[in-house]
Structure formats: C-alpha cells, structure tokens
C-alpha cells in the first residue's frame, strides 16, 4: 500500500457535514415491504424491457427485465414472489411523474434462485466478463447510473494511467459509502481487484475524504493484509470533491477537457458501491438487487444506514426509521446539495438512491426569495468547474442559449455550490438546469426536423422519379404501338407452328379486366340514366339509354371473346379441366344474361310502350342465344385437344390494340360531350354524333376481334398452312376495309368540323344547309354505313364455310344490333332536329318557309331512318326465329 500525492481543484465550499447522525446506529436491514416497485428506467439511457408477465412467480435474483439497446441494463427480482402488475407508478424523479414499473408482491420466503458465480473470471475473455456484468444489472451507483459495462468498454479506448475508486462522498448527510466501506471492506477490495484485472490501469487509487477515519483505517488494514498495491488517497473534506472530474483533478492534477470523458485522458472512475456490486456478481453470482442507503434528517428518530432491497417504497423506510410525520417538512432523494424534493413517499428506492433526507423545517427552510444579482462574484469563486456562473445566469435569464453554450454551460456539474454561496439567494442551478434542458430540447427538435426534411425530400424525389418513369413508359408505349403491329404481322407465319399456350391465358386475363372495366362503366351509365329519368331530361335519357345498351353489348362481346380465348387456351394445353371451367363460366353467362333478360321483360311489362326497352330485350335475347351457342360449342370442343393458335393470338393482339385506340377515342369524345353539356353548348348534338361514331367503331373493332378468333378456332382441324393463308387473306381484307372506314370517318369528321365552323361564325342553319358540307356529311355517313354493312361479310362467309353456324349467327346478330343501334340514333337525331326546328318556327315567324322546308327534309330523313330501322329489326327477329 502506498500513499498518493494530492492536488487541488478550483472553488468548492464547506457546508455543515451533518454526517454523524446517521452513523450512530449500526447498519439496519428493514423487513420485506408488502410490495416492491421496480421502475424499468433506473439508469441513464433506454428503459429495460420486461421479461415477465403479470402473474409470473419469480425467485430472488431472477432477471425480470432485459436491456433494451446499448445504453441499458438488466433488472432482477429483489426477492421471491409474484409479479402483481406492470403499470405506471410514481418514480423518484424531480418531475414527480410516473413511469412504467414492475410491481412484485413478495411471498415472504425470500428464496434465492440458483446462483452461478463466475469463478473463472480470470481465464475467460474480458468481453465475456463485461457481458456477465451487464446481465447482473450492474450500473454506476454513485450518481447518474451509467451502465458499468459501457463505462468499462469505453475505458479500453486508451491505456489507463489511473483507475480511481470514488469513496469521497462529499455531500453533507450522506454516509452510505462510509458504512459500505466499513461493512464490506474485503468485498470492496476484491471488487477493485476484479475491475483492475479488467481495465489494467497503471495506478489504482481510492480517493476518500478525511472525514471518514474509521473507513480509512479499515481499508488500510485490509490492503496491508493483502499486500495490495492499491493506493489510498485521503483528500481534504471539501464539497464537491466527490464529483468525478473534481476527484480526478484532486488525485491526478489533470483536468477532463470540456466535452470529453475521463477515459479520453486515460482515467477511469468507479464508485465503491459499484465495486462491491461487481464483487457480489462475480464471486457470489448475485445480481444487483439491494444497496446501501442513508436514512437521515431531523424528522427521523432513528437515522441510520440500511441495506435495502431495490423497489422498497420510501414510506416503508420512513416507518422503519421511526419518522415523525409532524416534523417532516421536505423529503429529499439524495443529499441537500444535489438531491431533489420528492412529493410522495410512495416512490421506490432505485439503484442510484444513496440517501433519503427527511428534513424538518428548521433543517431545510424554504429557500429565501430570489433577489437581484449584486455581482459580488462569489459564485465564480465557488464554482468547482471554473465557469462564470454570473454570465451563465444572464444568458439563461435572457434565453441566449447559444451564448450560454459558448460559456460552457454543459460543463456545469449542477453541484449547487454557486447557489449555496449566493447572497441574493438566486437559484442559479435551477436556471442552468432549465437552460440545459431547453437547449437539449431544441437540439432534439432540430434533429427531428432534419430527419423530417430528409424524409420529405426523399419522398419528393421518389415521387418525381415515379412520374418520370411513368411518362417515359407512356412515350415508349406510344412509339412501340405502331411498330408492334407490323412486328406481329411479320411474326405471324413463323409463330404459327410453335406451341405457346401462354399468350392465350394472358389474353383471357386481359379480357377479364376489360370485362370488369366495361361492367363498372355500365353500372355508372345506368346510374346516370336513373338520375336523368328522375330529372326528366328527355334528350339525356335517350342518349344515355343508347350508351347503356352499347356498353351492355360491349361487355357481352368481351365475355364472348373471353370464352373464345379461354377455349383456345385449354385446347392447346390439352387439359379438359380448364375447358370445364370455361363451360361453367359459359353456363354462368347464360344464367346471367337470362336473369338480365327477365328483369328487362318485367320492366317491359310495366311500360309496354317503351321502344328502348323492347330493343334491349331483343338485344339480350340475342346475347343469350350467343352465350348458349358458345356453351354448346364449348361442350363439344372441351374434350378435343388441338394445335395452339399463336398466329390467331397475334392478330388478336393487333385488333385489340386497335380496339383500345377506338375506346380511347370514345372516351375522349365522351369527355368533350360532358364538357359541352356543362356549358350547354349548341354543338352537343354534333359531339354526340361523334361519340356514337366512335363507339360504333370501337364495337366494330371488337367484333372484328371476335371474328378472327372464331376463324382461328374453327380452323383447328385444318392444316397450319391453310390456316395462315386464310388468316392473312382475312387480315388483308380487314385492313382494306378498315382503311375505307377510316377514310369515310375522316370525311364525316371533316364535314362536321366545317359545319361547326360555320355555326361558330354565326351563320344560321339555312346558310349552313345551303353550303355543300351537310351534303358531304350525309354522303360520308352513307358510305360509312355501307362499308360497315359490308364489313362482317368476309368473316361471316368464312365462318359459314367452316360450318360453325352458331358463331356466325352470333356475329351477324351483333352486326345487326349495331346497325339497329345506328339507325335508332339517326331516328333520335332526326326527331331532335325536328323538335328544334319546330321551336325555331315558333320563335321566328319571318323565315317560316325556309324552316318549314328544313322540317320537311328532316321528317323525310326520319321516315327513311325509321323504315330502315324497322327493316333491320325485322331481319333480326327473322334471324332469331330461323335459329
């Protein structure tokens, strides 16, 4: 044993020690309380995570909470019993707030769990020993409760010159460490030896104040007996020599630089309590479940030190120390200088509670009111951290946080020496604490706002990237669309041979999606129709009804396509199961259409004059028959396994693309129509006409889409060569037809545009009629009509030759239906025109003649359209009867 040299630190004070009171009685051991309250956050850093559930029985020393992250610790059951709750309880904290606690009800047996001491601590790696210490829940028992293993790990950064054991215990009243050294001298020395083994410092020094002669003597005896090289440095009594940085300065003469840790200058400091806990953990296998605490103050009749189980409520200790409730003025956790007032005696003892001070009014009077600073400078003289307390006070009062930081506010150890000496009774430490927490809050807010900004910007970048990608894809699609069709054409003969069933299923998927979309559109339209009926907008009703029936047809045709495609696919795969599925589906379709038909017929019964309804019923009947036909073919073809139809699929794709384009056009026109309706523009009729045209085109294309499918399907039995020839011929014809159609349509559009232009220019109808455009328009329309009537012929012819009458009929039906629709539209339009002209006739009697002429012309048109319509309907019914 050697004696160490002693240095000095700036400032410090000499308050009344008041240590004798609690040393009168020997160490006490209070009885078990009725419940133990174990806060999960007993230390600096993250709260522990509970390992037990309510109702679990635990033995003394069982781990009940596990560390939650790096700066966290374990928690153990201080006695055996059951976990009665895990809930928020008041904790020993200056805020007086509650925190999550494990409540343990002791069973009174105090049964230890199996203890496993770490006997081979000298042989195993230091990391393992540190991990073991962590599992034993050992944290610094001097002040803040820094997890010991973290501190020891940090000490490995630099080679240690000094390992200092803090036994100074400078704060008045507290004698817990003094008593611990007296009671557990050997354990303390053994603990220091274990820690020295872990940290391997050059010098090991126990720093102890000269007001503990008994403890010093006991230490010296043991150290001499063990022939230890641990030094005992007796330092003069001065507050706050027990502060880590101050003790280091006292014993080494080195100052810990601002913002750094002792480990950075090669020094490690540990409290005596921690050393004893380390000994107990390694040599006895006991986790940290109890500690030495001083119970003192004038309000206690039996001031003493106690070895108390963690979690013991303070009220239990006050009873044990025979507290006088009348004398009790303030209850302080910790010492009078650095402790804090606790409002409730129900708070528990935690790992860092070294003293309970039950002070009387005389002992700790209410602080005198704060007065103005007189700039006496005594605080500066007292500050052990060599700060400028007065400056810090100004900055704190005026919220100049930046300046306070510049004056090293964070080096303040909150020892309270400045407040103690202040003649104006300014609670300086309270100001510093407030400023420190404000700065910390601001820093946290800053970190959070930076994070939020980062996330916001990341999100924005991601959204922009997504938008750009979408745009790029759209452009790529636009470019690819025309080239793809030609590609498909080229590939047709080549692809005819290889058996690829995939596209078929893909197509069916796509079709299903299309059907779903079509159905939802149908629903929407029906809703609109209902609304219109309620509001009695006659024109709207007409057009909407037409749209609805269109949409119904579209859905039906799509379903038919789906059936076809699906039929092709299972055939290729030569598995009867999917075919059965298709059969089922077709049956469902039939049932569905049947139901719809019934519904419509009911409606028809209610209003037998409704022509639209009648038409619809007729359309549905046709649909139903088509579906039944599909069902029949499916039933026939299901067991037949035949060659795949890749070529057909390519054609299909092409047609589909065209159909999609046509649909898009329909949508566009619909939008325009809506807009026009909104502003009640006069060109509504024209736009409606356009819309119908576009829809018709879409329908045609879909039909065309269905036809090649039918063709390919029926061609299954023929050779691949013949089929491809037929297909290409078919495709050529279709192409030519399409071009003609397109030309006719362009002509219509042009005419309409010009008419519109004339209208816009303010010319009235008669002038417009006088011009050549209406004539051209009608011509173009006629041409279109003829083209459209021609259109299905090749397909029909082909299908007929292939002897599949059901499908041919279905196609013809559909075609008829379209024509009927078209004529209906013409009729409706003509009617509307007549109405309009009649109105004008009433309003402007001057040009009666010209208007009359127009009316006549319109009526003629109406009659011819109606005649045509009748004919068409007649032929449709004929066809149905023939079947």
């Amino acid at each position: 044993m050697q004696t160490a040299s002693i240095f000095s630190f700036h400032g410090g004070i000499h308050p009344a020690e008041n240590k004798a009171q609690s040393l009168q009685l020997p160490l006490g051991r209070p009885s078990l309380p009725s419940e133990l309250i174990l806060p999960l956050g007993q230390h600096i850093g993250q709260s522990s995570r509970p390992l037990v559930k309510v109702g679990d029985s635990v033995l003394k020393g069982d781990a009940i909470a596990i560390n939650n992250g790096f700066l966290s610790s374990f928690l153990h059951a201080p006695t055996s019993g059951t976990v009665s709750a895990i809930e928020e309880r008041l904790i020993a904290h200056p805020s007086g707030l509650s925190d999550l606690c494990i409540i343990l009800t002791p069973d009174g047996k105090d049964t230890w769990t199996t203890l496993e001491p770490l006997n081979n601590w000298q042989d195993i790696s230091k990391t393992d020993v540190l991990a073991y210490l962590s599992e034993m829940g050992i944290i610094g028992m001097g002040g803040a409760g820094f997890p010991t293993q973290v501190k020891l790990q940090g000490a490995h950064k630099n080679p240690l010159t000094h390992f200092i054991i803090n036994a100074a215990e400078c704060e008045p009243y507290i004698t817990a460490d003094d008593m611990l050294i007296r009671e557990k001298t050997l354990e303390l020395v053994l603990g220091i030896e274990i820690l020295q083994h872990l940290v391997e410092a050059e010098n090991v020094v126990i720093g102890i104040e000269d007001n503990k002669p008994t403890a010093i003597a006991a230490l010296k005896t043991v150290l001499t007996q063990r022939n230890s090289n641990i030094q005992v440095a007796v330092v003069p009594t001065k507050y706050p020599s027990g502060g880590e940085k101050q003790l280091i300065q006292l014993l080494t003469g080195k100052e810990v630089p601002s913002g750094q840790y002792p480990a950075d200058i090669g020094i490690l400091c540990q409290n005596v309590g921690t050393c004893v806990a380390v000994h107990d953990a390694i040599k006895l296998g006991r986790p940290l479940i109890s500690r030495f605490t001083t119970l003192t103050g004038d309000a206690l009749n039996a001031s003493q030190n106690v070895e108390v189980l963690l979690g013991t409520p303070i009220s239990h200790l006050l009873d044990y120390a025979d507290a006088n409730p009348n004398a009790l003025h303030r209850l302080i956790m910790g010492g009078p200088m650095m402790g804090y007032t606790i409002d409730s005696p129900l708070v528990p003892i935690v790992k860092t509670s070294n003293c309970i001070l039950a002070a009387s009014k005389k002992e700790l009077p209410t602080p005198a009111p704060e007065q103005a600073c007189i700039r006496c400078g005594m605080c500066e003289q007292a500050c052990p951290a060599s700060l400028l307390p007065q400056q810090l006070l100004w900055f704190s009062k005026s919220q100049e946080f930046e300046k306070a930081e510049h004056h090293n506010l964070f080096d303040c150890i909150e020892c309270g020496a400045c407040s103690y000496v202040c003649p104006s009774s300014i609670p300086l430490v309270q100001y510093y604490r407030h400023t420190k927490s404000s700065i910390r809050e601001a820093r946290e807010a800053n970190v959070k706002s930076d994070l939020a900004k980062q996330r916001f910007e990341a999100r924005k970048a991601r959204q922009d990237a997504e938008a750009a990608e979408k745009e790029a894809k759209r452009l790529a699609r636009q470019k690819a669309a025309p080239s793809k069709t030609t590609d498909a054409k080229k590939a047709t003969p080549a692809k005819a041979a290889p058996a690829v069933a995939e596209p078929a299923s893909d197509d069916s998927k796509k079709l299903k999606v299309d059907i779903a979309i079509g159905k939802s559109k149908l629903k929407k339209l029906q809703k609109q129709l209902l609304e219109a009926q309620e509001k009695e907008h006659v024109e709207d009703i007409n057009s909407l009804q037409l749209q609805v029936s269109d949409q119904e047809k579209t859905v039906a045709s799509l379903e038919a396509q789906l059936a076809n495609v699906a039929q092709a696919a299972p055939a290729a795969e030569a598995t009867p199961a999917p075919a059965n599925d298709e059969l089922k589906k077709a049956k469902i379709d039939v049932a569905l259409i049947g139901v719809k038909l019934k519904k419509l017929q009911k409606q028809l019964d209610e209003s037998p004059d409704d022509q639209e309804l009648k038409d619809k019923v007729a359309g549905f009947e046709a649909d139903l028959k088509a579906a039944q036909a599909i069902l029949a073919t499916l039933g026939a073809s299901a067991p037949v396994a035949s060659a795949p139809k890749a070529a057909a699929n390519d054609d299909l794709k092409k047609l589909k693309i065209d159909a999609a384009i046509a649909k898009a056009a329909v949508k566009k026109v619909e939008k325009a129509l809506k807009k026009a309706e909104e502003i009640n523009a006069p060109e509504i009729d024209a736009i409606r006409q356009q819309l119908q045209d576009a829809q018709q085109r879409a329908d045609e294309l879909e039909k065309a889409l269905a036809n090649p499918e039918a063709a390919t399907q029926t061609a299954e039995t023929t050779t691949a060569k013949a089929e491809s020839v037929a297909d290409s011929a078919n495709a050529d014809a279709a192409k030519k037809r399409k071009i003609d159609l397109a030309i006719a349509k362009a002509g219509i559009k042009k005419a309409e545009k010009n008419i519109q232009l004339l209208k816009d220019q303010g010319k009235d109808e008669s002038e417009i009629n006088a011009s050549e455009w209406p004539k051209k328009l009608i011509e173009a329309q006629e041409k279109l009509a003829t083209l459209e009537s021609e259109q299905p012929t090749p397909a029909t012819a082909k299908t007929e030759t292939k002897a599949v009458p059901a499908e041919a009929q279905a196609a013809a039906d559909m075609d008829l239906a379209t024509q009927i629709k078209k004529e209906k539209i013409a009729v409706a339009l003509a009617k509307a025109q007549i109405n309009k002209l009649n109105k004008r006739l009433e309003n402007s009697p001057e040009d009666t003649n010209s208007i009359r002429q127009e009316i006549d012309a319109a009526e003629k048109r109406l009659q011819s359209a109606e005649a045509l319509l009748e004919k068409l309907i007649h032929s449709q019914t004929n066809m149905q009867e023939n079947r």
Partner: protein
C-alpha cells in the same frame, strides 16, 4: 492642370483595377442558390403541414425570403417567429391566427381495428411516416410523425386521431425559476414608501 489630370487618371486606373478584382471575385466566389432561404428553412419546424399555405416548409422559406410575413407557421409557434425575426432583423409579431393556432406536439395514431387499408393516409403523409399496404392495416411510426394533420382528412373511416405527446420522465425538463419575486423587491425600507403613505 497636369495634377488634376493625373489625379483623375489615377482614380480611373484604381477604379478599373478594383472593378476587375470585384468582378473576378463575383465569378470566383459565386454562391449557388439563395443562402438566406436555407437559413430560414433550417429554422422552420419541417412538419411539411402546409398550414402556411405553401406546399412544404421550403416553399414557405422562399416566400419569407421574398417578403411574406414570418408569422404563418403554427407548428413552429412563437419561438420560430422569434428566431426568424432575429435572423431577418425584423420585428417579432404574434402568430397569425388565420393559419391556425400553436398546439402542443402531437402525433397521429391510427385506430387499427377500424383501418380498412385504403392507403390514402400513406399517400398524404409528407414524411412517409405511415406504414401499410392496400387492404392491410396501416400504422404510424410515431418517431417519424411530425403531427402535421395531413393524414386525418383523407381517411374515409376517420380512424386517425391526433394524440398529444405527453411529458414522460425522459422528456421532462426543468421549469424556469420564477425570477425575482415581487416580495423581494420590498425588502429595503425606502422601497415600501407606497405602503407607508396609506
């Protein structure tokens, strides 16, 4: 005469030289972007809530740099207004009530039983603090939530609550002392004259 000409000539020469130096420095040390906007943006709370009428904090920072009032940010509150006033050397004004009132810090909490998984709140969240997928329950990452309220309105089933973040023992901070008490001003006898008069 010569002296006058010489003086003028010298001045012209000097101005040319310094002009060249300044011109070079302007190009050489050119600052990209507007640094004042960055400074303002750093003071704003970055909740991205849009209560100021701008789509995010940075647009508001830009607007402030262009002369908009500094009191349109309720989440920042008076402290942000003070900081902005200090930075821009203008007078600190009270918060403009039209843009909302300063509230305690809040986070969004989804009542998860009621969530239908529509993803609307996910799309609304400016800081991606909501986790979930279509038709799956969503949840808020409390640590990342800025309490901007933007997710509350789009929720079709109104299952998002804004919950105040209470003070815990870990987030608690010391109160500021009351300062020099009124009573302590009267400890000098001459200060009590007013009372003596009665």
């Amino acid at each position: 005469m010569l002296t006058v000409l010489l003086a003028i000539g010298m001045l012209v020469l000097l101005s040319l030289v310094f002009g060249a130096i300044l011109g070079y420095a302007n190009v050489r040390f050119h600052v990209e972007g507007d640094p004042i906007v960055d400074q303002i943006d750093a003071l704003l709370p970055q909740t991205q809530c849009g209560q100021c009428g701008h789509p995010g904090c940075r647009p508001y920072a830009e607007a402030i740099a262009n002369g908009e009032a500094i009191n349109h940010c309720p989440p920042g509150g008076q402290s942000t207004i003070q900081a902005l006033a200090d930075l821009l050397d203008v007078e600190a004004v009270p918060l403009d009530g039209d843009h909302g009132t300063e509230t305690a810090k809040r986070v969004a909490v989804i009542r998860e039983d009621e969530c239908i998984g529509c993803t609307k709140c996910i799309q609304a969240c400016p800081v991606d603090a909501i986790l979930g997928a279509a038709k799956q329950m969503h949840t808020v990452i409390a640590d990342e939530c800025t309490g901007c309220d933007l997710c509350v309105e789009p929720c079709p089933v109104d299952c998002i609550d804004m919950v105040e973040v209470g003070v815990t023992a870990k987030t608690w901070s010391w109160d500021k002392p009351q300062g020099i008490a009124a009573t302590s001003l009267n400890i000098i006898a001459t200060d009590r004259q007013a009372e003596v008069v009665h």
